[in-house]
């Protein structure tokens, strides 16, 4: 999803529903004196981190347990790697790599499901591991 903001109020965009309470004000990392308490996720590098991942691009599926994903930049390409099943997503940015990984995982799920009765031992193991994370709605 991509939007272009052309007009904002002093408080940001108007919100029609009740606001969610924030734990702290917005943290700005570009100030000369950064705030004392910065959430751990904001201290990370988006192209060199290990994160929990449960992005679901397919409405037929739901992610029941997050994957551990390693995001890394190599020679100008960002990779998102699930070591557990050795699957990758690629992109020029981390968000693209993660989105690509989510599509790959959903395609893999349906491909293995459709051929579940004739999988090799290696693919059967991947199918079992995938089922620990993803299920049909």
């Amino acid at each position: 999803m991509q939007v272009t903001i052309s007009e904002v109020t002093t408080r940001g965009l108007e919100i029609q529903t009740a606001e969610t309470k924030l734990l702290s004000p917005v943290v700005r990392l570009d100030t000369p004196t950064p705030p004392a308490k910065v959430p751990e996720l904001l201290k990370a590098s988006t192209t060199a981190e290990k994160l929990l991942f449960a992005l679901n691009p397919d409405g037929r599926l739901k992610v029941t347990r997050p994957f551990v994903v390693t995001v890394a930049r190599q020679e100008g390409v960002v990779t998102a790697h699930v070591e557990e099943i050795d699957e990758f997503g690629y992109g020029s940015k981390s968000g693209e790599a993660l989105h690509d990984l989510a599509k790959t995982l959903s395609e893999l799920y349906f491909s293995l499901r459709d051929n579940a009765d004739r999988l090799s031992a290696e693919l059967s193991a991947i199918w079992l591991k995938l089922n620990e994370h993803i299920e049909l709605r």
Partner: protein
């Protein structure tokens, strides 16, 4: 959002998508309770003024209890005076 049940703390990371990605800010919510997995959970985050240091693309990454669940991309464009 749907499929949520229980207590969640949401985190938003604002990432500048330049040659090198850079986290320029973000926020954390207080605990939000989702009582019905089949229901809809509205998350309404009113961002106080956030400075976008440069024109270009920015990504808002959304995490629920430190799990990456989605993103949205915006363009910060310079409006030319007519």
């Amino acid at each position: 959002m749907t499929d949520a049940e229980g207590e969640y703390k949401f985190t938003v990371r604002i990432v500048y998508l330049g040659e090198e990605e850079q986290i320029v800010g973000g926020l954390e919510t207080e605990g939000v309770t989702a009582s019905d997995r089949l229901g809809v959970l509205n998350l309404a985050l009113n961002l106080p003024p956030v400075q976008f240091p440069q024109f270009g693309r920015y990504e808002f990454q959304l995490f629920a209890n430190n799990v990456y669940i989605g993103r949205a991309v915006i363009n910060a464009v310079k409006l030319e005076a007519k």
